[in-house]
């Protein structure tokens, strides 16, 4: 009757007092980095320290949208590789990540936005990524409930359809990566809050935690939206604003929305989950904070925006609302850095609301960076010093923006 016994995906390990590598944060970035360190680079003496439980942060709170339709070549390349990893990982981790390859439609509500879509489509096509510009009628064919009449305050001029995008089950990614990392010898410690970072002679030597001091040779700060708070423990200033972003779901409806759609003008994106709920979000509170506060204010705004774009949703009820952190950088691109003034210290942060789709690929390259000490070429565009040299990535020139932040 062995099949009756519950099987654990991964096993708790005893907390050692020293590891080769310590990673702060049990989200998909930290878990993926640990997984690739152990699996690809043979560094198995790795601990992932998580203050709450794995997936507590953005990794268990995001709206699970994956896509590669960024604005600039450096970013498109990274996200495209990330998108192709879901299938590889499903196989490698032997765990169903539930990639629903439904495609995404970004709506344009002005001629300027349509030009933005045309530029995006040509950038994508040049780089071998599928995207095409649709007119309003084609938008309505792709998403039948959409109001493409001129009744809207911001009528739909068209949009950018990106077939390779979709949604992936975020919990499954967290669990699958934990399973894979643990199977390769990584120790995952939940309820282990990092409260200080120790250094000596310009080197990282370990961390102080709620479960005592833990030594290490290399340290990865992969704490998602809390990254700026962790960096502050060493007095490291960052061009990052941690803000809450809110999301919510309606009660389940029969399947009618077969693609992800989003609208910058209405500050909304939505998709129908495999369970039938409409999952939607986009709103960010403007003040820096490390909470998970959700507010009725945005529930109302979201209802108004959705009901205007998709009149059939009027009267549908929201069942749950929640929030998590988005760590915003001035250029909407991440920071992956190993030159922070302390040998052995690495940072992977500033993913804003783009850090789910990129989790595994970021982990893959951070693992390479941390194991060799050499910055992989693909990470050149994501150095911290770009902000001191006034060389921002061009990501903000995109129509895929939802908040007042941009």
């Amino acid at each position: 009757m062995s099949w009756l016994r519950p099987r654990r995906l991964w096993h708790p390990a005893p907390l050692k007092r020293h590891y080769e590598v310590v990673i702060i944060g049990g989200g998909i970035h930290g878990l993926a980095t640990a997984y690739y360190l152990a699996r690809t680079h043979g560094i198995r003496d790795v601990a992932v320290l998580e203050s709450h439980y794995i997936g507590f942060g953005g990794s268990g709170r995001n709206t699970a949208i994956v896509r590669a339709n960024q604005r600039t070549a450096e970013n498109v390349r990274l996200y495209d590789e990330g998108l192709k990893l879901w299938a590889v990982l499903t196989d490698e981790l032997d765990f169903n990540l539930m990639f629903f390859n439904c495609g995404t439609l970004n709506l344009a509500h002005s001629e300027a936005a349509m030009n933005g879509c045309r530029m995006l489509a040509s950038t994508h096509n040049l780089l071998g990524v599928k995207s095409e510009v649709l007119d309003p009628q084609q938008c309505a064919e792709v998403i039948p409930g959409l109001d493409v009449s001129d009744r809207l305050a911001f009528p739909i001029h068209g949009g950018l359809f990106h077939p390779p995008g979709g949604i992936v089950r975020h919990d499954a990614v967290v669990w699958g990566l934990a399973k894979g990392a643990s199977a390769h010898g990584v120790h995952i410690h939940q309820g282990c809050d990092v409260q200080g970072i120790d250094t000596r002679d310009g080197r990282v030597t370990g961390v102080r935690t709620s479960q005592g001091a833990i030594g290490c040779k290399r340290l990865g700060i992969m704490a998602g939206g809390y990254g700026s708070a962790v960096a502050a423990m060493l007095g490291i200033e960052l061009p990052i604003h941690p803000l809450t972003i809110q999301a919510m779901v309606t009660h389940p409806l029969k399947p009618f929305l077969h693609h992800v759609f989003s609208s910058g003008a209405y500050h909304v994106y939505a998709n129908q989950t495999l369970k039938g709920e409409i999952a939607t979000g986009a709103h960010m509170d403007p003040q820096v904070n490390y909470t998970t506060d959700a507010t009725a204010y945005y529930l109302k705004h979201q209802a108004e925006a959705l009901a205007e774009l998709m009149p059939a949703l009027r009267g549908v009820r929201f069942m749950r609302i929640w929030s998590g952190l988005a760590d915003m950088t001035p250029d909407m691109a991440p920071i992956m850095e190993g030159e922070l003034g302390y040998e052995g210290l690495y940072l992977d942060a500033g993913w804003g609301y783009f850090g789910f789709k990129s989790g595994p690929v970021a982990g893959k390259y951070m693992a390479e960076y941390m194991s060799t000490g050499e910055r992989p070429d693909i990470l050149r565009a994501f150095q911290l010093k770009r902000f001191l040299e006034n060389r921002y990535s061009g990501e903000t020139a995109s129509v895929m923006k939802y908040g007042h932040w941009d």
């Binding site: 809390y226 423990m233 960052l238 941690p242 490390y290 506060d293 001191l388 040299e389």
Partner: protein, 80 residues
């Protein structure tokens, strides 16, 4: 949960009446002799530990005053 801020003129009001103006960071560095790097560090880089900070707010949907208050980013609430 939404929260309230204390406007020095209007008293406690809902946070959505206000605009966040960022951390209080002391006087702007002297422009004279300021390197480009120092300029970018001043405009973009921040230290945001998870502890109360003094910051600026603007009561845009109220009396229109700019004021300073101390708020804890870990709870969103004002502290004494």
């Amino acid at each position: 949960m939404t929260f309230r801020l204390t406007c020095p003129v209007c008293g406690k009001r809902d946070v959505y009446e206000f605009t966040f103006g960022g951390q209080e960071r002391g006087p702007r560095p002297e422009q004279q002799g300021l390197s480009a790097e120092e300029h970018f560090r001043w405009t973009q880089f921040r230290l945001i530990p998870n502890e109360p900070q003094e910051e600026w707010w603007y009561h845009g949907q109220g009396c229109g005053v700019w004021f300073k208050t101390t708020r804890d980013p870990g709870t969103n609430r004002e502290v004494e």
